[in-house]
Amino acid sequence: MTVTVITRPAASVAPATAPNPVLAAATRGPRLRRLGRSRLIGWGVVVALVLVWEISSWIQYVPTISSPSKIASVWWAEVTEGTLLLQLAETLRTMAIGLGIAAPLGIAIGFLMGRVRVIWALLEPLVEILRLTPATAVIPVFILFFGIGDAMKIGVFLLAAIFPLLLTSYAGARSVSTTLRQTAQTYRLGWWQTQWEVALPAAVPFILVGARQALGMSLVMSVVIGMLAGNSGIGFYILMAQQALNIPALFAAVFTVAIVGYVFNAIFLALERRTTRWRRTDTSN
């Protein structure tokens, strides 16, 4: 019998100690063992929790915690007839613009700070002060200056997303080892060639981690902005549902945000796996 080696996805939570494969194969069937190590059982936990919630609502219905079936029906109605998707689209639009500006800017500034000493010296204090300022604290300031329109929202997304990208890009640019730098020198690469062919590829895995962090920050901000600005977006929708005591709609909106976050994260993980295939390969000695 050949022992099947299961490759674990890079970002999933790995067990602290891998079970002894020989022992496990001897005691349990290989199929059961494979199931025991896959994330499928984790999805089973999610389904079980929803079922418990649903069954408990049959036994005693509490309006403030609603029930999965009721939330699902309201969600479907809100998606097909209500404004949930429109508000979500509105939020995602400003988020996409903010991230679209933050990504090239953050990556470029961080990378140059990592590669050019004078740029680092020029910007490091400013970055250190700004990166620790919570974007949520800046929203009232931005509202004061830009109003509650697109400019303010894009600005907040930009501020929230730029630092994770900038800092990881900087770390990636600094990650070039002495040997790698000297290799580029002995092959007589010019400055631009060194950045393009050596430093930037070395920084890519770092930048992808930063992109995922930026996305997470943006999702948080997407809700907060709508709540604080109070004119449109998914956060505004959640706030309205809460104030109208429309509990199923409130839950429907919250789950929508959760699903959006999950899908985005999954897309980025897939991207990470594709572009950093070389990193996950094992050394044979």
Binding site: S177, T179, L180, Q182, T183, Q185, T186, Y187, R188, L189, Q193, E197, V198, P201, A202, V204, T276, R277, W278, R279, T281, D282, T283, S284, N285
Partner: protein
Amino acid sequence: MTLITSDRPHGSVEPAPDSAALSIQAAAKTYRALDGSPVEALRPVDLDVPADSFVALVGRSGCGKSTLLKLVAGLEPATSGQIRVGGEPVLGPPDRVRYVFQNYAESLLPWKTVGENVAFGLKHAYRAQPVRSRAERDALVEQYLAEVGLYGVADRYPSELSGGMQQRVAIARALAAQPEVLLLDEPFSAVDALSRATLQDLVLRIWQEHRLTVLFVTHDIDEALYLADRVVVLRAGGAGIERDVEVPLPRPRDQVATREHPDYLRQRRDILELVLGSDAIAASPDGKERA
């Protein structure tokens, strides 16, 4: 002053001073320690390496052999003295030189496949070869990989290969750049003994087929004697050259016969005594060797 007065072919029997591929004149390196005090990594060294010859630098750690190689490679500036490669003073990494690092895992571009790494050597070459299509490039890459005994690994990533195979890729990449001079810094020290023997023979074959000038740094006296035309022994503590030994052993060298040759054994004993002798100087006054 670089008038060509000789029409002798490259690497003739009696080399004129100008035909030296590498010429090191009183090159020294002093670092500044953190407290600002000078640290002599290498005291003035004179060394001429004729074209097409194989010279090994040996000595204990801290003798400055790697420092000297970095100076020749133009990776670090010499504090004093002058180094010439192919007659031209070294001010930065010379184009006709390629360097094989001890730390192959960090020298190969890990995000590029093995084939792409060799193609990197083709692209950043001293003597560029015409590559008109991807197919032509791939054929050249396969040819260089075959030269180092690697087949069917062009699409693998370096991290998927063993240490010895990774160093072969690094050598193939250097060859693809068609250098005149190949510098190797303890290239096989992280490789197991059996692979090392194979890699030594590989380097000898490549040196002869490509008519390279090789400067090879190692702490392994057996390796130096087995490979080189000349073994240069450096004194401990960066104190310069202890001795410059000609190795008259016949070629082609053989892993078994050469290592049993009476001249080999005699020279091995001499050099070992030299290297260990420099230890006795550093030993404590009661005559005991330091651990």
